[in-house]
Amino acid sequence: MATRAGAPSELGTPGGAVLDPHEVARVRVPARSARGELRAIKVVWKRELIRFSHDRLRILTTLMQPFLFLFVLGTGLSRIASAGTHGVSLRTFVYPGVLCMAVMFTAMFSAASLVWDREFGFLREMMVAPVRRSSLVLGKCLGGATVAGFQGLIVLVLAGLVGIPYAGGLLLEICLLMVMLAFTITAFGVMVAARVTQIQSFMARMQMAIMPMFFLSGALFPVIGLPLWLSILNRLDPLTYAVDPMRHAIFSHLHVSAAARHALVPGVTWFGWHVPGALEAAVVGLLGAVMLGVAIFQFSKTD
């Protein structure tokens, strides 16, 4: 606001322009090229970051949920749950789930901005640009993944408060899983946003998807000894494959009894076969890639 011009010049004086016609910089828009597409991806990605950094309120509100889950629910329930946790704090146990939730909500809001963009017309500015739609969608998903990953990093700072050590390898592993999950959820959101024109209906659909995903994933309970219906739903839930390897990584850096490990981190099984962590991560990544493909397809079809 400091640079606000005075009232008369605010309207601009066409006659008093300082441009010399001979100095007009002529621009030739180059033909489509890989470099051009990279620039487009980068600028769409950067826009996500700029908007995220402006939106301090969103950063705070998205942090509130993890806080409530970790410190209110985690503390409150720990007294009745202590019998089953073999001495491990409930907060430590739910931490990976809560981290994933923070990432998921941020990614969802990132994708939601696409619906806003359509409502406010900005989407049109991007859609008429001489670049591939795939570049725009990819930039958007990478942007969403980055800001959601960043939000995850903020929650990751809290790890020490719930007794998780700040070990380099562990943090790296968690970050990788986090970014992958963030990308997948953004791609999912973008896929949904391709067809939805109203923000209310988008939010409703996303809530319908994300809340069940969160509760079914084993974010709040160990995935062993569940009733059949719940274990089927649990195995179908993509979030399961992000929470489980993350919890594994965390518990491998904790000094806990074998009994506790067995009860709290049983690992995900398919028909009795123990699914390795790398495969679990691959499931998340693959799903993200598929949804990215669908999103690109949908956006390429629209005018």
Partner: protein, 320 residues
């Protein structure tokens, strides 16, 4: 720009029923007509946003269907509704555009300053667009549309919803632009007075071009002054005009309206010979509104009211 037989159907509704015209390089070409005449649909087809259902068109020498990207590279767009990102600053909006259009890096800063100075927003480059007034946003959009030096600039109702002062300053930029850059400007408007800034005008109504010529030629064709009479009983006055003066009058904007040569000298005769009570009279020199009136038998304002009625009826039918 060469357009032939361009048409667009939405289901059963023919929004554009085959239009033909040629726009020369460097020309300012205006599309004039009431809301719902098919102007925006035509412009959307020309800038590759909407796929035509018939005919063909070339913009900057490229086919709008087969060479969509080529067309996009060579056009600048300013839409009716804002397409800025309000959460970014003016400069960030332009930078984003420059990146999307692949403006050479070494030129971006210079070109950005040029276009922003042109519309008087350089001082405000760091402000968020959300803090801008409607007029400032429109100016920023014009600057953005010019950033990549398009050969054709499309302006869809560039001054709609703006106050008169801002409107005239926007026309100032457009004139300045014509002087500085060899650019073809294609615009739509439903303000009659604005159409006069164009080199040539196509008047559109109900999806067709009714007439296409220079503003001067169009006005000369009408030639007559417009007289409007307020009367208690318009039908009687119309009948009297026909009987006494052999004038064909219609009711437009609620008044008995007709054209007559040398209107000011006609008035004394009117008062002396009409023999009907009159509440008020106005005489106006021919304007493009009269051109529209003479070709369509209705003024733009009335045509819009009809279109709105039509829309309302449609909406009623669909809600049933």
């Amino acid at each position: 720009m060469v357009v032939s037989g361009l048409a667009k159907k939405y289901g059963e509704v023919e929004a554009v029923r085959g239009v033909d015209f040629v726009v020369e390089t460097g020309e300012t070409f205006g599309f004039l007509g009431p809301n719902g005449a098919g102007k925006s649909t035509t412009i959307s087809m020309l800038c590759t946003l909407v796929r035509p259902t018939g005919g063909s068109a070339q913009v900057a020498g490229h086919d709008i269907v087969a060479e969509r990207d080529e067309v996009r590279r060579n056009i600048g767009l300013v839409f009716q509704d804002t397409t800025l990102d309000g959460y970014l600053s003016a400069e960030q909006n332009l930078r984003l555009h420059a990146e999307l259009y692949g403006v050479p890096r070494e030129l971006v800063a210079r070109r950005m300053q040029q276009v922003m100075e042109m519309v008087g927003l350089w001082e405000r480059r760091d402000s968020l667009v959300n803090h801008f007034s409607g007029g400032m946003k429109r100016r920023l959009e014009i600057a953005r549309g010019l950033l990549h030096s398009p050969r054709v600039l499309f302006l869809d109702e560039p001054t709609v919803g703006l106050d008169p002062q801002t409107r005239s300053s926007i026309w100032g930029y457009i004139r300045q632009l014509k002087a500085q850059e060899q650019i073809t400007i294609f615009l739509t408007t439903h303000y009659m007075d604005e159409a006069e800034y164009c080199d040539r005008i196509a008047i559109m109504d109900q999806g067709r071009i009714i007439v296409l010529d220079t503003p001067e030629a169009l006005k000369a064709q009408v030639g007559k002054d417009r007289v409007q009479i307020e009367a208690d009983d318009p039908a009687v006055v119309i009948a009297a005009l026909k009987e006494r003066f052999e004038l064909e009058a219609v009711i437009a904007e609620g008044k008995v309206t007709f054209g007559v040569t040398d209107g000011e000298r006609f008035l004394p005769r009117l008062f002396a010979e009409l023999g009907q009570p009159i509440r008020g009279v106005s005489v106006a020199r021919p304007s493009l509104d009269d051109v529209f009136l003479s070709y369509t038998g209705t003024t733009i304002r009335d045509a819009e009211a009809q279109n709105n009625d039509h829309m309302r009826n449609l909406a009623r039918l669909m809600n049933r």
